[in-house]
Symmetry: C2
Subunit: 351 residues, 2 copies
């Protein structure tokens, strides 16, 4: 058998803009009842009947939000969709449509964009959202992805950031810090690779945290779960920048304070062991790491019995009077003021 040393590379200019759009979008099918018209006209047409529409948008820039040296394009496409769907779930709503715009320099062959769209297509199938529009254009350098997600909700279920009340319990889904520690592993391996390209690292012991970084899942199950449990959160936000930053958003908008208990923050064993390996404090990572795309919400204390047995949900604190401030209560029972030290802050410190 002859090995193909030159995998196919089709130049984007061969296809032209309309050819490229047609090629990349021909597999998108409309499944949502609210998608009246998708790609192919000046605009998509949506019909929400008696429900409310919910809209969110994110822009991802190569070199700022992702590094293609360890982020496979298919995963990038998947993650770009997740980032947006997560915002819709954080409204206690159901995403129904997305638009996908990309700008790409001519260093990318068609096959690279196909991979990116494979990830987008996979995400749209699993999460049952229709791709109804977009824009495909060239960039002078690098890859830029802009996604807008549209969702629907009954008015009475929509959950804003400003509804938390004194005494409410603070609840987080899943566990925290994994995405950031996964990134640390990938960045370390990138440095090792630069020195010795033949090194074949065994990353199996980091598989969970690497997956948290490369292929995060938005919490589709949570709005459904809350509905089934008959719990309407009083406020909700998704964790993209890190737990402390999101708590500050909820507290500021709801005009309340908060006590967060260090010993209640859910951490995966891989996060704990990798933090030990890197000699970093795991609480700091959970507070500031970001990109976990878990949901953070508050509930009335009366709803506690409905959620307490659920392995997906951890009560990590409670809301207080605004004048009491926003604090982390440590394992040693010290009260430390919580600061907004998101993702960007961490990245700047490293550079």
């Amino acid at each position: 058998m002859i090995e193909d040393k030159n995998p196919q590379r089709t130049s984007l200019s061969e296809l032209g803009e309309f050819g490229l759009i047609e090629h990349l979008t021909k597999n998108f099918k409309l499944d949502q009842d609210s998608s009246v018209k998708g790609i192919g006209d000046d605009a998509a047409v949506l019909d929400f009947k008696d429900k409310k529409a919910v809209v969110s948008t994110d822009l991802l820039v190569e070199g700022v939000h992702f590094d293609l040296s360890y982020m496979p394009l298919k995963h990038l496409g998947y993650k770009a969709v997740m980032v947006n769907l997560s915002d819709i779930y954080a409204m206690n709503a159901k995403p129904t449509q997305i638009t996908v715009s990309i700008a790409v320099s001519n260093r990318f062959p068609l096959e690279a964009l196909e991979e990116l769209y494979e990830g987008i297509t996979l995400a749209s199938k699993i999460y049952k959202v229709d791709v109804v529009g977009g824009d495909t254009t060239s960039s002078t350098r690098g890859l830029i992805i802009s996604i807008t997600a549209i969702g629907e909700a009954e008015e009475e279920n929509i959950t804003y950031r400003d509804g938390a009340k004194t005494g409410d319990l603070l609840v987080v889904t899943g566990d925290l810090g994994g995405a950031y520690m996964g990134l640390q592993i990938l960045e370390r391996e990138k440095e090792v690779f630069k020195v010795n390209p033949n090194n074949q690292p065994d990353l199996s012991m980091y598989s969970y945290i690497i997956e948290r970084q490369l292929k995060p899942e938005a919490r589709k199950d949570i709005p459904e779960l809350l509905k089934a449990l008959e719990v309407k959160p009083t406020s909700m936000i998704d964790i993209s920048d890190g737990l402390s930053s999101e708590i500050l958003h909820l507290c500021t908008q709801s005009k309340v304070g908060c006590n967060l208990y260090e010993d209640k923050i859910p951490l995966d064993p891989q996060v704990i062991s990798t933090c030990e390996e890197f000699n970093i404090d795991s609480t700091t990572i959970a507070l500031s790491g970001g990109e976990d795309y878990e949901l953070l919400f508050t509930i009335d204390q009366a709803d506690y019995p409905k959620i307490k047995a659920n392995p997906n949900l951890s009560v990590i604190g409670h809301m207080t009077d605004k004048k009491e401030g926003i604090h982390l209560v440590t394992r040693g029972d010290e009260k430390i003021p919580l600061k907004a030290q998101g993702w960007n802050a961490l990245r700047e410190k490293e550079e």
Copy 2:
């Protein structure tokens, strides 16, 4: 009086991401009935009641779609909104909300972004659309703007690209080729400026075409006019890539042919005189220039009496059987097959 030789330059890093978003978006007010919740949560919430929602998105990249050496940032912000609203009007719908995402390198001070947002704010006020969301992030190089426009329409008024029938009249609004010739003037002046920075050009004789390039207006008036005239177009599209490219879109999607009459194409006297000055054929410019953001639509012949007296509308051809093909009928009565030679094609030829 002491002249301030150093206009204020505030570094973006001083503000931080949340400070920047707060600063740039604090003046956005919600005026549309359908805007339930705007900026400040995970997503915006919209309520279209018994109407359909219409969604369109565009991505603009510095060095590809605009050149800041002759495009003032305020105009760029305005134009970025127009590009999107134009797509909504092309559905015979009314834009109601936009989301605005920007990625910007740190070579831009805060004052530059303020100028950009001034243009966006002005456009949103004049066109009565609410800015309900967005994302502000950094880029490694240059400025990227992604806008998504959302509109509303009664189901029976929505006009797609695929409804043209044999015998329908082809109608265009305004006049064509101005934006492209305005760009030629601006590019020529840029070259002159490089050679002699003290040159103060008198561009007053090109004022209309320069305005067409720098500050285009979307045809807000046309859906309203068509409603007042009781005309429902059978198909519609906006002219972003050039007349011939848009005619091909309508014909392909509607499965019809077309005869376009060269002598009916509306041209402004400044376009004609500037084409003479540059020794370019004005029909070629109207066909391929693009960026005019006029609307192109087809109507049933029975509706001709309703539109014939209107100075905003020109009948430029009629739709034929698909097998007759798509042709330009020249002033010399020759039939030439119409080719898709959009904006990009022209730009590539020049380089």
